[in-house]
Amino acid sequence: MKPAPFVHHAPRTLEEAVAVLGEVGHDGKVLAGGQSLIPLLSMRLASPAHLVDVNGVAGLDAVEVTDTHVRVGALVRHAGLERHDGAAAALPLLRQALRNVAHPAIRTRGTTVGSIAHADPSGEMPAVTVLTGGVVEAAGPRGRREIAAADFFTGPLETTLAEDELVVAVRFGLLPAGTRTGFVESARRSGDYALAGVALAVGMDGDVVTSATASFVSVTPVPDVLDLGPALAGRSVGDLPLDDVAELVRSHVGPESDIHAPADYRRMLAAELTRRVLTTTTTPTEGAA
């Protein structure tokens, strides 16, 4: 269980990192937190000839909160973003979701942006990226570009990022004032990969729901947004059609069976978790943005 040999590159600037990536092309892989990549290397599921270790690159570790988004640099660790009070105040869903990312000892090293670039369907932060209409900022030999979250994820562990590009930052969009959010997931052991998980955003006018969207963890091949508005808009908190919502979720998700749980169980779990998080999020005093 050891990684295959590779050449280690330690660029100090983004320009150097991009230059090395351009040179090594498809033989290269970017290393930031490494909490998903190093297990893949150790199990020899991946054996890139070159690792571009960006941990020494200056200027990638900032969190910026503006009127429209929370911008997270490529070297911001999950634990750092989780502790960031400004980010949590602007977009509570970030902290709600990050508490579910692996174990604390993984969150101290793993980066939020790396987890998005890794595009694992069982990752929490890809689901948050799509739900908030996030934007991925990439840099490569052909310059910089921005990719909307909806156009970024193309399959399990697959994105529209080119082999010689790296993600510099991700901007999470702020939700309209008054939006309530919630995040819940279920795993065999707290902190392990979720069997199913749900991120939820609900617009409210008093106790009447005006809009509702959800995205999912571990039950869709690519994180996408399910509009629950048709079932919920105009309904008051005491009168939510939870069975209709559960049915919408059941028909939307497409989980796979594996050693941990059959597809049917994950489908049921996604529907039940949505029902629960919808109830807690719309309950007064909880989940207010």
Binding site: P5, L31, Q35, A49, D53, A102, A105, R189
Partner: protein, 170 residues
């Protein structure tokens, strides 16, 4: 450009338990192996080697991290604390080590170094955990003897010992 097939050897310098240590190792050397094989610090135990079991947990700049999920070369700029750095004198145990002894929180002891480092960092963050919080705090560490009840007790007891020692030195 260097060929990956020929192993790239690097001079790696780490600050471990307050001491600067240098050794030559390949770029692919995991921090867990660097500590054990290259520096002879065998207190850090290696279990699953893919981040699940927590046996290799060390502190990087005071925060818990899986030593099997960090390359030694990446850890160069960091302060590493292993279980040896938390205490290796039986007459002068750290609060967490003393609590483990008092509560019989170890059986075979293989997972213990990872628990000690994890709990030491956790108590800095939450000095007075409830048993429920203690349970959550250790959820990332596996004990194959399944001795979790006494480990949970030890987390709570360790927080008491920290306070008792503070009062003694007052």
């Amino acid at each position: 450009m260097t060929d990956a097939a020929t192993e790239q050897l690097l001079e790696i310098t780490l600050r471990v338990n307050g001491v600067r240590r240098t050794a030559s190792a390949p770029a692919r050397r995991l921090l867990s192996d660097f500590l054990r094989h290259d520096l002879g610090l065998t207190g850090t135990h290696v279990g699953c080697e893919h981040g699940v079991c927590g046996a290799c947990t060390v502190l990087l700049d005071g925060e818990p991290a899986r030593a099997c999920l960090v390359f030694a070369v990446t850890a160069q700029a960091h302060e590493v604390t292993t279980v040896e750095g938390i205490g290796h004198d039986p007459a002068n145990l750290s609060p967490v080590q003393q609590a483990f002894a008092e509560c019989h929180a170890l059986q075979c002891g293989f997972c213990t170094p990872g628990f000690i480092t994890t709990i030491t960092a956790y108590l800095d963050e939450n000095p007075q955990p409830t048993p429920e919080e203690a349970r959550e705090a250790i959820s990332g560490n596996l004990c194959r003897c399944t001795g979790y009840q006494n480990i949970v007790k030890a987390v709570v007891r360790a927080s008491e010992i920290v306070r008792e020692r503070e009062e003694e030195t007052r």
